[in-house]
Subunit: 327 residues, 2 copies
């Protein structure tokens, strides 16, 4: 480990904010020396409860994140907030829209806020997000809120790292409910209808209750996702949300699902690292190795199909490449 | 190869639309028997020119796709259209918004239209999209238009398979221009300002010209991306767009970049297949193999970090798993 990386590691464990910020920047800048730090951080992580906040833009996720954070701070808990925007290439330095509302929080030394975009996502944004979760976890945050901007495939990927997934919608969002039906229903542990003073709130609440009631396989689980009405701007319903998250955390612990979730997260993390290693090694093989270049030539000439070429790379070329030092 | 797969392969090469539709459904349904067909199709693909259409929702990409298709059909060319919506889990069967406008085209036996969502994307949506491109290419389509719904990370991934990437925007979209600046400028071979009769069109055109002019590294390329004003609904500017695509195709051929692009595409295809194979094999190892399960246990207990575990899987467990039949 380089001296800098070692210093940052020590700094992080000693509660130095700049060390945390610097390590996160290294993740985003794809600085290889951060890997060694992440390895060593693993033993210090695993204590934070990770809350995913997902749902369509404009539903008020950032306001909810701020409201929750204030409550956790009142209880003396340390909080990390990661705002992930897969549609934006902007990273940490840039400000996301709702950052203004987070301004008052960001002066608090026990709140750490970071925005992440799609840039700097070697191995995918979900891997980078997970790295940042681990950094904030080892940094001693009790709760880490991962807010995603959209509700698409990438967001679902990211939410898989959360212990509790909160899906946020708002009244009258008929299409949104459809979207929830189609893909988001499965991942929601808690549903929030924000801006609940608007027209159609009762309808949206009832629709969601109905969907949860009739969810296929819903009976198999002892956890019935609650549907919570909030007015995040006025702080209404935030306490109920906080309680629901606490109840879900208890449920995970008592049912033994917490261990299972942690196992799944470890597997997912391992698979992402493995894919990155394999991709990097294979790219080198295809660009630099004589036999690798010949495979590319034959594929391009349509003499060899990519499936067969992939098998060739797998069986003969990859192993020795991966064993090279520095990979 | 199963009898069905073999029949579908023959059917596709003989111009049977139902065979094409069936093979695409097999890709979406992650039917393993389609892999063997895709291997054999490789030798028959490589003739189509693939046009990517990307840009923000509402810019009129579908209308442009329809307009282009009509022109190609007037010239006697066969066209495939793939509408990719990474934010939707809906697949082929479901209709995307602009499908209505495509209705009149879809009766034409030489036009093949297919919508794809994020579901059925084993190995990622970009891999599935590439499989569908290859199917339509071997099916004999001269032009394949890949329309993506958004302009985020996933769309950029998908567009990498296109020979010519058309970025679509519209007047007054100040934020859009920013987005183009941030990430999309690099990938655009042609820029379109659609709805060019609206206020602010001149400004948007001038902004784009300026950005292209001052693009870092722009001088290195002999291709200067044209900026085309269109009113797709009235058919205005479509001829210019068609010409620009033809000129870009000529440029790729004459400069030798076509071969380079094909090579890059082959490498990308190989890497995606490889990642899928490795992920599947590794998931099996972690779930079923005694040593693999022990790795998961130690990671969960924080005794072993995922990076070290990934190396373990790579070096000792993966090779024998990959060599098992049926992978």
């Amino acid at each position: 480990m380089t001296e800098t990386a070692s210093d940052l590691y020590e700094g992080l464990l000693n509660g130095d904010r700049r060390a945390a910020a610097r390590l996160i920047s290294m993740v985003e800048n794809q600085d290889r020396s951060v890997r060694q730090v992440l390895r060593m951080l693993h033993q210090h992580a695993g204590r934070a409860h990770v809350v995913g906040l997902t749902g369509s833009p404009g539903a008020g996720k950032s306001t909810l994140a701020c409201g929750l954070t204030k409550r956790y701070r009142d209880a003396g808990l340390a909080v990390g907030i990661i705002c992930v925007d897969p549609t934006s290439p902007f990273t940490g330095g840039a400000l996301l829209g709702d950052r203004v509302r987070m301004q008052e929080l960001s002066g608090d030394p026990d709140v750490f806020i970071r925005s992440m975009g799609s840039r700097g996502a070697l191995g995918g944004l979900s891997m980078a997000t997970n790295d940042v979760i681990n950094i904030l976890d080892a940094f001693g945050k009790d709760f880490i809120i991962v807010e995603t901007v959209g509700a698409g495939q990438v967001e679902v990927e990211i939410v898989k790292y959360a212990h509790t997934c909160v899906v946020v919608t708002m009244p009258g969002a008929g299409d949104e409910i459809q979207a929830i039906k189609a893909g988001i229903l499965e991942i929601g542990d808690i549903f929030v209808v924000n801006k609940a003073d608007r027209d159609g709130a009762h309808r949206t609440l009832a629709d969601l209750e109905m969907m949860i009631e009739t969810k296929p396989g819903g009976d198999d689980s002892a956890w019935r996702p609650p549907v919570i009405a909030t007015k995040a701007l006025d702080g209404e319903g935030i306490e109920e949300l906080e309680d629901a998250i606490a109840q879900h955390a208890d449920y995970l612990r008592e049912s033994g699902l917490l261990g299972l979730k942690t196992e799944q997260r470890m597997k997912a993390e391992l698979l992402e690292i493995l894919n990155l290693k394999v991709s990097q090694a294979a790219a080198r093989v295809l660009d630099e190795d004589e036999e690798g270049r010949e495979l590319v030539r034959r594929m391009t000439a349509r003499e060899l199909d990519p499936h067969s070429a992939a098998e060739e790379v797998m069986e003969h070329l990859l192993k020795r490449e991966v064993e090279k030092p520095g990979t």
